[in-house]
Symmetry: none
Subunit: 210 residues, 4 copies
DNA sequence: AATGAATGAGTTTTCATTCAT
DNA sequence: TATGAATGAAAACTCATTCAT
């Protein structure tokens, strides 16, 4: 019982360190030695916890992604108005990466060929995440005359978040960026669009998340 | 002059093939043999034109980026209304990647540590690209109450394009996607926004492991 | 302490084998595989103990030279008359090479460019060796009218030893050769010399291509 | 006829440059490019004159050795007294190397495996050289009670010359060194040897070289 | 269970030689 | 005939993984 617990701690510790190291250099420049020596454990021990370097790498991503999903799910609870929901979500995601620059970097590398099972795992995880948000957004999307696929919309949102994380200035502040992204996502940057169907003054119907 | 001459065509041919191959597998899984043998040239020839595998990889990206800049510059010529300009730009970029899925993949890998000079090169090229567009957009940005940094806006636009390229369905059509991105970028997806929603309190961000 | 430990024995064993192999063929014809496979160890192990093929090569020489210095130092102990001292020294050196033909060969190849630090190492070792002997000889040198630099004298002695080792017949015996070299070094081969023969005019040296 | 002559010049020029380059670095660090580019000729041309890099290397040594033999033969002509002959010979050899440090270095490298025929060539050349001198010396050798093999004596002489060339100071002068070596070779460095048979006052019989 | 020495298949890179121009 | 681009066999070295201790 205690032994088991100890193992789990070690596993987690390895995962955390690995995230760190993998985010510093590309996969093929990270040596297993880098990880084990940085942790102060033997290289062999690594292999007691993870099947191979690639499995470790993968576990590292899955672990980070899981944390992010939890955080995001938290944002969708309750039935706040859409803008508030989105803004808290954006702030959460930016914040998550803010504190885990390493994981962010990691997440945006697609370096390793994983076997089918693992790739499926990863993609399912990602999918659920997108769906979660898409469902919340879908009912309130208003495309100004274009039909908008809600999942694609969420992807675009994430694309914007990604860009902001990558290219923000050091002086930028989290809350401001979150607000910015939210506003642009919901309202765009442009001047009133001439051609657009005059947007019906949509009454803010409170929609309970289904 | 006597003897055979080093040819630019060969250099270009290598570049094109390399783009292909590098986009198929991650850097460390690509063998120099893969490239040379697939081209039907000797491995040594590769090294006559490029200092190392990493230099070749890098040259491959720079080359693609250059092509894209040219394409984008073309879109900014003339003084069409903003929406048209943006839409043609978006269509151009999506189209560029559409036909060069390999380069697109490549562009979004950050696998190699480059030496200062090369990294600078790459970053300058990217910078100019962003600036070009930012200048066109700047005067017409309207933030709905948020001050929008034009460069960051362009980054967001590219983030959206990237997402669309990555996550579109096979059935999606280029023109539609371009229109979609343009509309969302300029007009947002959301219902009409009241002008100054109090931003969600940042403290709601779930802290996970400091 | 856990795990296997890096062993000095292995290091030494490698050094000995390498001496063997390096003496058989010139540096660039020796494969790292030759050494490791002949020892029945993996190639990687070589690199665990020595930084590179060149470092190994160098270590091999330094190691042999060290042994020789020890042997020579032994000859200088006690205050036997000069002739006895020289003869034992010559016998020792010839004997050292006699049993280590490989090291002898090795010592007389100047194949590798070493970095400053290593070259310094090697030269310091050699220097000390020469000095040791020069100090013993200096007080008793008698030049027959020529001033003899003791260090240069020692170098000449070593030059003679070298020649004898290289060009002796298989039938020659160690003791005889040692005696021979000693007598020639101390007494010369020639008939009694008149004390100051006018040196041949240098101008006789045939100039070939300047 | 003219064409042939031109070829010979080129051949010689290559040989001279090669001697230069080969003396600067060990064989395996010399690139054929180094040689051809330094000469301002194409790499291919090298191969019109020499079968391979190794053949060129070998030709380079043979060429130098030939020059030395000629110079030495010059010293043996006439029937000067032994000491004069030796001294002029020593001066000649030292001088030869003095002006061809590169060849000297080269001569003392034994790096390449040559095929039987070539090795025989080289050894025959060397042999003749040694014999030439041995014959002149033989009749006048007086060993102080040791029987001295004349060829071995000559080898020792060359060993001393070699040492002097390698380890002399920059301030040393050719004539002095030649005198030094001669005196040591003929008279030794030591104090009168006690055990020696009192040297018979050998009358200086002029021996005509046979 | 943990460690880190040993391993050797797998890669990049080099460079003598050839041969198209 | 001269040139230097092309070649690809050969070699040094790396590093994930294994396994003796």
């Amino acid at each position: 019982m205690r032994g088991r617990k100890k193992s789990d701690e070690t596993r987690l510790a390895i995962l955390l360190r690995a995230t760190e190291v993998f985010s510093e250099k590309p996969f093929h420049e990270v040596l297993t030695d880098d990880i084990s020596s940085r942790m102060g454990i033997g290289k062999g021990t690594l292999y007691r916890y993870f099947e191979s370097k690639e499995h470790l790498y993968f576990a590292t991503i899955v672990h980070g992604l899981e944390g992010m999903r939890e955080a995001i799910e938290g944002c969708l609870i309750g039935d706040r108005p859409l803008e508030q929901t989105i803004e808290s979500l954006v702030a959460t995601v930016i914040g998550y990466f803010w504190e885990r620059r390493d994981f962010f970097v990691l997440l945006h590398r697609h370096e390793t060929k994983l076997d089918a099972a693992e790739r499926a795992d990863w993609e399912r995880g990602r999918d659920e995440l997108i769906n979660l948000v898409a469902q919340r957004i879908a009912p309130e999307i208003r495309g100004n005359g274009v039909k908008i696929n809600p999942r694609l919309a969420v992807e675009m949102l994430f694309g914007m978040i990604r860009s902001v994380c990558l290219y923000r200035d050091d002086s930028d502040r989290l809350a401001d960026l979150a607000h910015l992204v939210t506003r642009v996502f919901l309202g765009g940057v442009g001047p009133a669009l001439e051609c657009a169907v005059a947007p019906a003054p949509v009454s803010r119907i409170k929609k309970v998340r289904g």
